[in-house]
Symmetry: C2
Subunit: 218 residues, 2 copies
């Protein structure tokens, strides 16, 4: 598989066997998730803000209001860190110390580029929409010129990125395996509940299949 | 309800109606979640790392290996930002522009304090365990002295914290309500799958109720 070059920032200091720089592994995690946490620094103070994203080839796309403090800061090209975390389960060991979680996470470092060209901006917004709920875009009104102007779209190259993954059962100290306590993994995942129609929706509009069949796993 | 004092960092610049500084609102979000994203700065570079947490009164507790780069940095008392995000649903509007998500998030600013006293450290680790899976601690082997030494536990006072919440249906432009497209909310939540026993678990050990009845909603 293609490897992304390691840098000091993306090299795991501890538990290096949990780390990966394989592009395919990183892409799979990014494609299953849809919320990232973006870290950036203003006047020495770190901020961490959640937002939606999409991956297009080797680019991570984020967007927001042009009035957003985060987007106004990021579009100037300051250093950012984007983290995507998928929680797969609670790992219940026989000792408190060896309790853990199964997870898959990606950390990306870099500086954003502003997408200004109208065509590229529409393409990026389309990708965001498709990533979060596939096939929705074709059903809805596309952004008009005012809405496009009010929206800032940024891309971040997946050049300095790494994944970290834990899977499998607990790893206990050998002498603890004799303990009379349940041990294993409680799997966790995101699921949907029944869709809630807008109170103003007419009764004769059916749910589209991309809502009834919605799933994050691809 | 008790209000946490606003500061420039915790005052929402946009959409102020989504913001809250009510301690009860902040606590409810922190108590339902169990993963936070911690932002911190080393040599000007922001890092965002996911980790488990617990709330005890007005303190947020995090822990990790004493060898962890993050914990070694945070325990020196540098500025940090801790964000907890609960995704409640996808908000499907009639226009691409008005698509959104329902969510509840908390952002906390501050500097951590190292918990060194043995009794306080055990109490904090107990709180972490209880927060992530209640009643588990009583069944497992408690940390020994070596494990305690290998574990760094930090607390962060919930002094400068705010919540941000979006709920309810999409808000479309008036002229778009006539469109013939489904609109509403697709609720999302974390759920469990069937527990996976450790391959080394004897057959005669039953699942405890805190696993079979596990739920995040309190």
């Amino acid at each position: 598989m293609t490897q992304i070059q390691q840098t000091p920032r993306t090299t795991l200091k501890r538990l290096p066997k949990r780390g990966s720089h394989e592009r395919e592994t990183i892409n799979q995690i990014l494609d299953e998730g849809f919320i990232c946490h973006i870290g950036f620094v203003i006047d020495g103070q770190p901020f961490v803000i959640p937002t939606g994203y999409a991956r297009v080839d080797d680019q991570l796309i984020v967007h927001g209001s042009q009035a957003s403090r985060m987007l106004r800061a990021l579009k100037t090209g300051i250093d950012m860190c984007v983290t995507v975390t998928l929680i797969d389960g609670l790992v219940l060991a026989r000792s408190a110390f060896h309790h853990s979680m199964n997870y898959r996470s990606v950390v990306i470092f870099g500086r954003a580029t502003l997408i200004e060209n109208r065509e590229d901006k529409i393409a990026a917004l389309f990708a965001l929409s498709e990533h979060i709920i596939r096939d929705r875009w074709a059903d809805v009104r596309e952004p008009n010129e005012v809405e496009l102007q009010q929206t800032t779209v940024l891309s971040l190259t997946l050049a300095e990125a790494s994944a970290k993954i834990r899977t499998g059962p607990p790893l206990d100290d050998e002498e603890d395996y004799a303990m009379n306590v349940w041990a294993g993994v409680l799997p966790l995942r995101m699921t949907t509940d029944s869709p809630i129609a807008d109170p103003r929706l007419p009764d004769d509009i059916d749910l589209p299949p991309y809502i009834t069949d919605y799933t994050r796993h691809k």
